[in-house]
């Protein structure tokens, strides 16, 4: 196996139109088109797509795919636990907590004496709805870069929740409409509200129901949730209440049922005032499920990787940071990934 000793990282994993490919194991990581064998990092729709023949993922990611796409999302599904290592062809793969959403994982791929870790999406800020991120030592680290600019520095999420609660106290006659993506962010936001002592029912948009129920089934206590549908009482119903829904719903006719709403949005993008302004957000909450600049750079250091590939996001700044810090780095151009998760 001498030729394996001399393997270059690009031989272990490289990009193809379908996504990141391992010839040694003949599999793809988070492919954007249907493939024979897919390893899936987490359940957001740009990473987890329906139609693959076989899917390897954590139990929770498989459950979430089933919830979103139905029983037939793949021909076969195989479960892998955090820390467990299995062989696929000539490659050995293991999944490690990514702290992004429930079930999210980084995927480590080893062969020929090289280990590459594909981070998927990850964060290290506190989040009681997920298993916390673990840094995995590796030779090459493939990092996401959604917030890969020094301007993205997420504050303590508890403080953001306190800002929401202060606004609720200041404007008790107005409905607080909080936009939060349906998988992960919404449940984390609700959980954070409970942790800050908010005990009243929280009203949720229909698009959140299944995933909130799933999180509860996995032991994440979200407290009393009620559908944000109009009762007989009419508009006054939601005065002084918190309504959580997917951001897209707030630009829609759906939002009209609420009296004089305070429009809020929980996202890392809300760090930039102009972003908030453009979306008509009155109360931006900087709560992100992606790592901020400090987390990204800290993680690169923690993995001890001698080489970094930067993908989906703002590659150039992280590549520059790596150069300054003496780490080989290059952008890895993968197409088809949006920032659904934030």
């Amino acid at each position: 196996m001498d030729y394996l000793q001399a393997m270059r990282p690009e031989q272990l994993l490289h990009t193809r139109p379908e996504g990141l490919y391992s010839p040694a194991g003949d599999f793809f990581i988070d492919p954007v088109r249907p493939v024979k064998r897919a390893l899936i990092t987490h359940g957001h729709s740009d990473h987890a797509r329906a139609g693959h023949e076989s899917v390897l993922a954590t139990r929770q990611t498989l459950d979430i795919m089933k919830l979103r796409y139905g029983e037939g999302f793949a021909s076969t599904g195989q479960t892998i636990g955090y820390g467990q290592q299995i062989a696929i062809g000539e490659a050995r793969v293991s999944f490690h907590p990514a702290g992004h959403v429930l079930g999210s994982a980084q995927i480590a791929v080893e062969a020929g004496g090289i280990r590459i870790v594909a981070s998927g999406d990850y964060k290290r800020h506190a989040d009681t709805t997920v298993t916390p991120f673990e840094a995995v030592p590796c030779d090459v680290f493939i990092t996401e870069a959604t917030f890969g600019l020094p301007v993205f520095r997420h504050p303590d999420a508890a403080r953001e929740i306190d800002r929401l609660l202060a606004s609720l106290a200041a404007f008790p006659e107005r409905t607080h409409l909080v936009g939060a993506y349906a998988l992960g962010k919404a449940q984390r936001l609700i959980r954070l509200l409970r942790e800050r002592g908010y005990e009243k029912p929280i009203f949720i948009h229909g698009a959140l129901e299944k995933l909130c129920a799933y999180y509860e089934g996995q032991g994440v206590d979200l407290g009393p949730l009620e559908p944000a549908t109009l009762g007989k009482g009419g508009k006054g119903d939601f005065a002084g209440e918190i309504v959580v829904g997917p951001p897209s719903a707030f630009a829609d006719r759906w939002a009209r049922r609420f009296a004089d709403p305070v429009s809020s949005f929980a996202s890392g993008w809300m760090r930039i005032r102009q972003r908030a302004k453009q979306r008509g957000v009155e109360l931006p909450l900087i709560i992100s499920d992606h790592g901020d600049w400090d987390e990204l750079t800290q993680t690169i250091s923690d993995t001890g990787a001698g080489e970094v590939w930067v993908t989906h996001g703002r590659e150039e700044a992280l590549v520059r940071w790596c150069e300054i810090n003496g780490i080989a780095a290059r952008p890895l151009h993968l197409v088809g990934y949006e920032d659904e998760g934030d």
């Binding site: 600019l149 020094p150 301007v151 200041a170 709403p261 005032r273 009155e282 940071w321």
Partner: protein
Amino acid sequence: MRRFAELLDRLVLTSSRNAKLKLMADYFRAAPDPDRGHALAALTGSLSFASVKPGALRALGAERIDPVLFAYSYDYVGDLAETLSLVWPGHGESGNEPSLSAVVDMLSTASRSDAPAILTELLDRLDIPARFAVIKLVTGGLRIGVSARLAKQALADFGGTEVTEIEELWHGLEPPYEGLFAWLEGTAEKPRHTAQALFRPVMLANPLGDPDRDKLDPADYAAEWKWDGIRVQITSEGGTRRIYSRTGDDVSGAFPDLLDAIDFEGSLDGELLVGTPPEETGSFSDLQQRLNRKTVSAKMLERYPAFARCYDLLQEGGDDLRPLPFRERRERLASFIEGLNPARFDLSPLVPFSDFDELERLRQSPPHSVIEGIMLKRWDAPYVAGRPKGPWFKWKRDPHLIDAVLMYAQRGHGKRSSFYSDYTFGVWTGPEENPELVPVGKAYFGFTDEELKQLDKYVRDNTLERFGPVRSVRAEPGHGLVLEVAFEGLNRSTRHKSGVAMRFPRISRLRWDKPAGEADRLETLTAMLNG
């Protein structure tokens, strides 16, 4: 500092006036002295420090962060103060950060040369929102959509008093306004007037409605042209001379020519205009050349000389004339003006009339284009602050109307956030056989809630493209929605492709019946400019 930073962040993104007032009043309630006084000074533009220029900010950034990373960051954010607040290393001294007063104290002792060093120290000690607030303070101009007037209104709301009471006291007070806050909270007497040449809250008029007209006796009222300039109060006392806007802002600095001509003791109410009275009165467009300028060039002073067309005399020497009836004040005004420089002060002429039909004819065809209507003032009314119902009426010239075509729609804010409620409209230009639309304005009111729903549906059904919160709407000669737009006047504009900018545009009617191709052409507007 955290509370003040949060206030700024909320105000920047809040569009509702009531919500802004509530945020500020809540802040005044929650923040201690002297922090809240310094915040009030910042909101009303009464703070000034040795300013730090953008170049110095960039230099500070370059000391702490790689220039390439800084450039990527600035390019993405687009605002220098915000970029610097975000990329500055560290998270501040949590729990031990300086208060707003401590920050203000440090900055106010700074000279131009040591300001950057002091700013550096503050940036190290503060967290991100507070850094942004400090940079805004030292670069001057918060730009958070709050006028000094609005801040004073919030103060009045907080203290349960009238804003005119605040305005009257204002120019005798200094930050951090502890006496003012104590009075508003009911723990101290009202502060006494100590300064010279204070602002006197102005008297305002209500619009004249048809029912009012039928009830009024023409013999009770004087009529006077309503000039389209800036309402000002010119006050001089014991050598202190001031020109105030109608909300009590000191605008003396912008009009040194008029200020220099003040050689009396008293207080005049009038309209600030440009030109050479009585022969020539410049248009509002001309007057705009003199507004919002930090310095006025000699050329400007020569080309657009400022003068005051006087309506009223509030104070003459030691006498407060405000309790006197208008008839008597007017006589005193007429003789007072005779002693002043005629190039800088003239008397607003009365308009004799016998009945409202006659006045209506005069209103529709005023002798000068800078007249925007008629004022009616009761002969026997004293001068009182605010907008009392009855003594004064304004009867404006009918607005200009134009038929324009809807081109773009933008989502609104607050309760309108799910509606496309801000409309950009255009008129035709280019060759008759192949015309194209050029945008001439934007309006977001004038329609009913029911019409808003219809407009929103029309926008959604006829969308061509989306750009974030904006949609472009199908607008061709054979297919498009005609909006009848009302506006008060037209200015030349170099910033708009059409070359014109409307004043106070609003939707007056939805012309579902009118083919888009029959909407007005740009020539109709440019003719108004020249007319």
